[in-house]
């Protein structure tokens, strides 16, 4: 079978590779062509995962006002957002932390405060403790208070939950709660770490002895926010400045935005966006 048909059958591998090579060339051709589609504007906003949920809702409403414009909200974290904005991969960035003034990469950026986000201290709904002082919150998260009995609850161990180092929510929490003047108490080493506010909430709602902190917008009926220094975090108490554990959300860019990016920025500071933000538990900056 090989003597007679060698020429034709054995060309199969060659033909296969030739076809493969052509296919790869065609693929790259398609890629190249699709790259210069031009039609259909795209607006990319990237950055903090804390700001992302509310930005997505705002973008959903914005799309109805501006059909034909494609708005993509990406995550990656505040730092990735800054990198993308500087590389022109994203038109706007989102940040849940202050820009570093001593970092030349960040100090030059344009920023616009979008909203104030409250950080709520949450416990299981069946936890009898409903009110804590700031010092008690600090000691709980530092691991100094080990049972709920010490703050007026049941005789059960305290399971502490925090966010990861480098998270905007965590650094805000450490600034607002763990710092007492100049001295900062470190968070307990044995504190459990979750990688999102939603994750913290999910754990707290399943564990009767857990305590954690999360963005006010991430809360729902499955967990309860304790009042800190007598103030419960709500939209009103944040707006009136009574609830003190708040941090800003920013939109950032290389320079002040123009075109579609400017339209989105203006929309985010408008009344429709303010309503969306209120539903998420955020206090919009301009009313």
């Amino acid at each position: 079978m090989y003597a007679m048909g060698v020429r034709y059958r054995s060309l199969r591998p060659v033909r296969f590779f030739a076809r493969l090579g052509i296919a790869i060339l065609v693929l790259f051709g398609l890629v190249g062509l699709s790259g210069c589609r031009g039609k259909g504007r795209v607006l990319i906003v990237a950055g903090s995962t804390s700001v992302q949920p509310v930005m997505e809702k705002i973008a959903e409403a914005f799309r109805k006002v501006k059909p034909g414009l494609r708005v993509d909200i990406e995550g990656g974290g505040s730092s990735a957002g800054i990198m993308a904005v500087r590389a022109k991969t994203a038109a706007l960035g989102m940040s849940s932390r202050e820009l570093k003034q001593n970092d030349p990469n960040e100090a030059q950026l344009w920023r616009q405060m979008l909203a104030l986000d409250a950080i709520a201290i949450i416990v299981h709904p069946e936890n009898t403790v409903a009110s804590l002082s700031l010092a008690q919150v600090r000691d709980l998260f530092a691991g100094k208070i080990k049972t709920w009995k010490e703050v007026g609850g049941r005789d059960r161990p305290v399971h502490v939950l925090v966010r990861e180092e480098g998270s905007g929510t965590r650094s805000a929490f450490e600034e607002l709660v763990m710092k007492d003047g100049k001295h900062e108490t470190p968070v307990d080493d044995y504190a459990l770490v979750q990688d999102s506010s939603g994750g913290v909430r999910e754990v707290v709602c399943n564990d009767r002895d857990a305590i954690g902190f999360a963005s006010l917008g991430a809360l729902n009926d499955s967990v309860r926010a304790v009042s800190v220094e007598g103030v419960t975090p709500t939209f009103e108490s944040v707006r009136e400045g009574k609830y003190r554990l708040v941090r800003p959300f920013y939109l950032i860019g290389v320079e002040p935005p123009a075109g579609d990016a400017a339209d989105l920025t203006r929309f985010s500071l408008g009344s429709e966006a303010a309503v969306i933000m209120q539903k998420e538990g955020l206090v919009g900056v301009f009313r």
Partner: protein
């Protein structure tokens, strides 16, 4: 034989050379890609290790990157414990299942189990993570105490995750052993069990070791699911019920927000991980080759 129907020897040789060249190019480009990734990780990470100092980095017990403290010892211990736990639980189960399916089971059992195992390798790791959080963590919390987020929970979940991988590759390895080996042993009077343990398994050793290595690789590299159940506290776990943080979780948790020295330290963690896997693979291959 007319010369028109058979390719001349020269043409044949030339064509062979082209094929060999094409394959070489493919192999080279894929190796280039792999090397690029390794170089990338090392280029970012090694200077940071040197800057912090190897004993402080590897032996330091405190990880506070925002304050410039980089000690990953607790994470190294966490990774080892979680991976070992997953292997200790998962590998015997996988190997016995693979042996049963390959050697003893009726074809009907095989028809049911094989698709089932393949089905489970199709489930994304985040789903396992969620099942871990909703099933394993409360189970550990209610029966053994603590918060449920622990080395044990992570090891249990990982052992289930590596089951499909290890079992299917081990199964293929056992199947590849020629029937003549089995027939010869049985003809010599060995029981089926003796045939399996003393002839088939040693013959399939290379493939079985691959299966375990790939399973170990999967267990060590698993990030999202482990983050959900291990607790991620930066402590050296002295009991299976303590929370722990693995090297991979460390990278995944903080990479999104890290910049500058913090980010480089995370790459350095990647370097350590790579070296660890390298050593473990070497040991495993050495053991396989010795006997």
């Amino acid at each position: 034989m007319s010369s028109g129907n058979v390719m001349a020897a020269d043409d044949l040789r030339r064509r062979e050379e082209w094929i060999r060249l094409a394959l070489l190019c493919m192999a080279f480009s894929s190796i280039l890609v792999l090397a690029m990734i390794i170089l990338f990780v090392f280029r970012e990470g090694v200077p940071q290790i040197v800057r912090v100092g190897i004993p402080e980095f590897l032996g330091g017990g405190r990880w506070a990157p925002t304050k410039g403290v980089f000690g990953i010892f607790p994470m190294i211990v966490g990774t080892i414990q979680v991976t070992l736990g997953a292997l200790v639980i998962g590998v015997p189960l996988s190997l016995l299942s693979a042996i049963c399916l390959s050697e003893f089971a009726a074809p009907r059992v095989r028809m049911v189990m094989k698709p089932l195992i393949e089905l489970l390798s199709a489930i994304p790791s985040v789903v396992y993570g969620f099942i871990g959080v909703t099933v394993i963590v409360p189970l550990v919390r209610d029966t053994l105490g603590g918060s449920g987020f622990s080395v044990l929970s992570a090891a249990l979940m990982l052992s289930v995750m590596i089951l499909p991988t290890v079992t299917s590759i081990a199964y293929d390895a056992l199947r590849a052993v020629p029937a003549a080996y089995r027939e010869g042993a049985l003809a010599l009077g060995a029981t089926p069990w003796q045939t399996v343990t003393r002839v088939v398994v040693p013959a399939a050793r290379s493939g079985l070791v691959t299966a375990v290595i790939l399973g170990m690789g999967r267990a060590m590299g698993e990030t999202m699911a482990v983050i959900m159940v291990a607790g991620n506290a930066v402590v050296v776990p002295t009991s299976p019920l303590h929370p722990c943080r693995t090297l991979t979780s460390n990278i995944a948790l903080e990479m999104a927000y890290a910049s500058g020295g913090h980010q480089k330290a995370l790459f350095a963690t990647g370097v350590v991980l790579f070296v660890m896997i390298f050593c473990l693979n070497s040991i495993a291959t050495f053991i396989a080759r010795r006997r």
